[in-house]
């Protein structure tokens, strides 16, 4: 018990002087960042700024060129990658659902990988669909292609939550949706994250989304973290990059 208590005290994710480079380009340079338990941290930046790479460094889809990413106090390179990934929910644009699996099987994927028995996995799948506002009786046996974009995105979130992971990673999860669906999903997700007390790292290029969902907003530019502030302080920031984003918010209401 004492060991677990000690682990709980540790930040969930820590970046220590992390650099990630390809043979001809540096994607992330010298990143230091701590994700606190229970918070939703939003990484904001234009495409190519390294925010998605940052996300992939957490679940070891990528490993740092130098420095260290720690999850629950342990370097990602010391984790068994399979075990690590099964503890982290991952949501991508369009959900990344398996087109040849039913919705129920998609949602029950990680529980099945973890070896849960069928009854429990099925029960959990229905629970998750209810949680994201989809009627299990209507949707469980359908295939992804029969669903709308917003519904698929909900299923993606349900799948990420199914094994009750302590950490959620979301890569532009609402990017491909129409503005109305996006707004309602953003609201629902904010509620859900608070209610379930999940730690989440969300990546977006939409400053409005960052303001709605983030407890802290990290602004990234050319592989560097320029600032990391609460939404209120971000709004008041006089950093030129931050101002540029905030101005778009004033001009067109944040819809890009």
């Amino acid at each position: 018990m004492g060991h677990q208590e000690a682990q709980k005290a540790l930040p969930l994710v820590q970046f220590h002087n992390v650099t990630y480079s390809l043979p001809n380009a540096t994607i992330i340079s010298d990143l230091n960042l701590t994700v606190e338990r229970g918070e939703t941290l939003v990484l904001l930046g234009e495409s190519g700024c390294g925010k998605t790479t940052t996300l992939k460094l957490i679940n070891r889809l990528l490993t740092p060129s130098s420095g260290e990413v720690r999850v629950e106090g342990k370097s990602t390179t010391a984790w068994d990658p399979i075990e690590l990934r099964r503890r982290i929910g991952y949501v991508i644009q369009e959900g990344g659902l398996f087109p040849h699996f039913t919705i129920a099987r998609n949602v029950g994927l990680v529980p099945a990988l973890l070896g849960w028995d069928d009854v429990r996995a099925k029960e959990r799948g229905r629970e998750m669909l209810n949680l994201v506002g989809l009627d299990p009786d209507r949707f469980a046996e359908r295939y992804p292609r029969e669903l709308s974009g917003g519904q698929r995105q909900r299923v993606g979130v349900a799948r990420a939550l199914a094994a009750d992971p302590p950490l959620l990673l979301l890569d532009e999860p609402f990017g491909a949706l129409d503005p109305l669906t996006r707004a309602s999903l953003q609201r629902e997700f904010a509620e859900l994250a608070t209610r379930l007390d999940k730690t989440a790292v969300l990546v977006t290029h939409d400053v409005r989304e960052a303001m709605i969902l983030g407890q802290r907003i990290g602004l990234m530019h050319k592989g560097q973290l320029l600032l990391l502030e609460s939404p209120e302080r971000f709004r008041a920031s006089d950093h030129p990059q931050a101002r540029a984003y905030l101005e778009t918010l004033n001009v067109n209401g944040g819809d890009s």
Partner: protein, 511 residues
């Protein structure tokens, strides 16, 4: 005989050939899938291997099937004649579409889906089995489908190495100018291809998870089927433009001697200022068809062949009678003139290995009858089916072989010398008889009818180009059997250019 009557009379044989055909295709596709799909998977993992392996598979497919069979015959283990060789060749042909579609199918899996699978914590094997393969299956099945349709077509060539299948009917039909055989073989093969295509199309539909379907691959498969299966027939029916005023179109059959005889006339005509169009190496009875249609002006033929295969008479042994009747009937029926005999016969030569002949002291076919039960015989499709071929031959001499293989004539010589078979029926003027140390057993019961070499020429061509008559009369009795054998050997044995050989010979003769 109408096609319907033909089917009724040959129903059981046709079914047997269809069964052989299906078994060949099925087994070769099965083996190709077992080899090809794992190979494709490996290629998606090791990018550096992709180019070389796909390149090799690509080259395999471009080798003409008959040539591939020729390469395979002398090889140990995978070679020889019969089903095994055919399967090896068919598997080699089927690999490319299967490997390529496996690679394409897996690489085309939505990268988001693959990334999600990895990020969910799937192991490499789980990603492959649960995500990549199921999603690639539609494309892989398309590859299998293309391979199957191609295999149905290529299998018709398998008859050339004695593996059976519908090619037996197609080859035989082409050689004997028999539409019923041709139609029965080609139609059945086409129906098989269509059936396989739609069956696998149903399978393919089971794996359609998204809306995108490859229409191109399907059309390609159908096109290939149509081209391979009925291509030969279309070629046979093809008519090109008729000969113009001053040109003479000289044709030949698809073997060395026929091409040589055609070349002799061609060069002699050219020496007399006549322009010549060479249309050599025509398969089966195409030359006859083309001659009657006016596409050809002349081509070399053998009296026995005209008598039995074209005019459909029962074989007789008197050379004079055969020649006279052929001359008469060709004039009446086709307005075609038969030239004076050239001076040699190209009859069936019953051949054994020279060392066997010496060891067993064999001189005549009768001598061989005691050895026959221990021997395997290899015969061309022609010999197996002709009225003057195998049935009468074995009866006349009371021969019973341990095994009789039906295969492509030109391959029988190699099969004999490489000990795949022990006795064959070749051509008496074949150049390789001396080079491969083969021995011709004497036809001591005079079973084989006369096959005197002649030129067949259209009557209107003779009046249009007077030089033709002069050339043909010069060639009467100008070539002996020995001379013909030597000429054939110059080309088949010493691999010399036929034009050079003919030029030399004409010079030596003073023509």
């Amino acid at each position: 005989m109408s096609f319907w009557q033909f089917l009724q009379a040959n129903w059981s044989e046709l079914l047997l050939l269809v069964r052989q055909h299906i078994v060949l295709v099925f087994v070769s596709i099965l083996v190709a899938v077992i080899i090809g799909v794992p190979t494709g998977i490996i290629l998606t993992r090791y990018r550096v291997l992709r180019g070389p392996v796909l390149g090799i598979a690509n080259v395999m497919q471009t080798i003409p099937s008959l040539a591939l069979f020729g390469f395979l015959i002398p090889l140990p283990f995978i070679g020889g004649i019969g089903t095994r060789t055919a399967l090896v060749a068919l598997v080699l042909y089927s690999l490319l579409p299967i490997i390529r579609n496996t690679v394409t199918g897996i690489l085309n899996v939505d990268p988001n889906v693959r990334e999600a699978a990895v990020a969910m914590g799937m192991t490499g094997g789980q990603v492959l089995r649960q995500v990549e393969l199921p999603l690639a299956m539609g494309v892989i099945v398309t590859g299998i489908r293309v391979a199957t349709v191609i295999a149905v077509g290529v299998t018709t060539i398998a008859a050339a190495v004695g593996a059976g299948g519908l090619g037996v009917y197609i080859f035989r039909g082409l050689r004997q100018y028999d539409n019923n055989l041709l139609l029965a073989g080609a139609l059945s093969a086409a129906l098989l291809a269509l059936a396989a295509d739609s069956l696998l199309g149903l399978v393919e539909r089971q794996f359609s998870f998204e809306t995108k379907r490859s229409v191109v691959a399907r059309r390609l498969a159908l096109a290939v089927a149509v081209v391979l299966v009925i291509g030969g027939v279309a070629f046979w029916l093809g008519r090109s433009t008729p000969s113009s005023e001053s040109r003479i179109a000289v044709g030949s059959k698809d073997f060395t001697e026929s091409a040589l005889l055609a070349e002799i006339v061609a060069q002699m005509l050219e020496a007399r200022g006549v322009s010549v169009e060479r249309r050599f190496e025509l398969g089966g009875n195409l030359p006859h068809e083309a001659l009657v249609a006016g596409t050809l002006d002349l081509y070399p033929e053998y009296t026995g062949t005209s008598f039995t295969a074209i005019l459909q008479h029962a074989p007789i042994t008197d050379p004079r009678a055969v020649y006279d009747r052929v001359k008469q009937e060709y004039a009446d029926r086709f307005k075609v003139e038969v030239s004076q005999p050239l001076g040699f016969e190209n009859t069936f030569a019953i051949l054994v290995r020279g060392e066997d002949a010496r060891r067993l002291n064999l001189k005549t076919i009768s001598n061989a009858s005691t050895e026959a039960p221990r021997w395997r015989a290899g015969f061309g499709q022609d010999f197996m089916s002709r009225a003057d071929g195998y049935p009468g031959f074995s009866k006349t001499y009371g021969l019973k072989f341990a095994e009789v293989r039906e295969m492509d004539l030109s391959l029988t010589y190699i099969a004999l010398s490489s000990r795949q078979v022990d006795l064959i029926a070749g051509n008496s003027t074949e150049g390789r008889i001396s080079t491969l140390d083969l021995f011709q057993l004497a036809d001591d019961r005079h079973y084989f009818p006369p096959y005197e070499a002649v030129y067949l020429v259209r009557q209107d061509s003779l009046t249009r180009v007077p030089a033709l008559q002069e050339v043909l009369s010069k060639l009467a009795n100008a070539i002996s059997t020995d001379e013909m054998r030597r000429l054939n050997y110059e080309i088949d044995g010493r691999k010399r250019d036929p034009k050079e050989v003919v030029k030399e010979w004409l010079k030596g003769k003073g023509f």
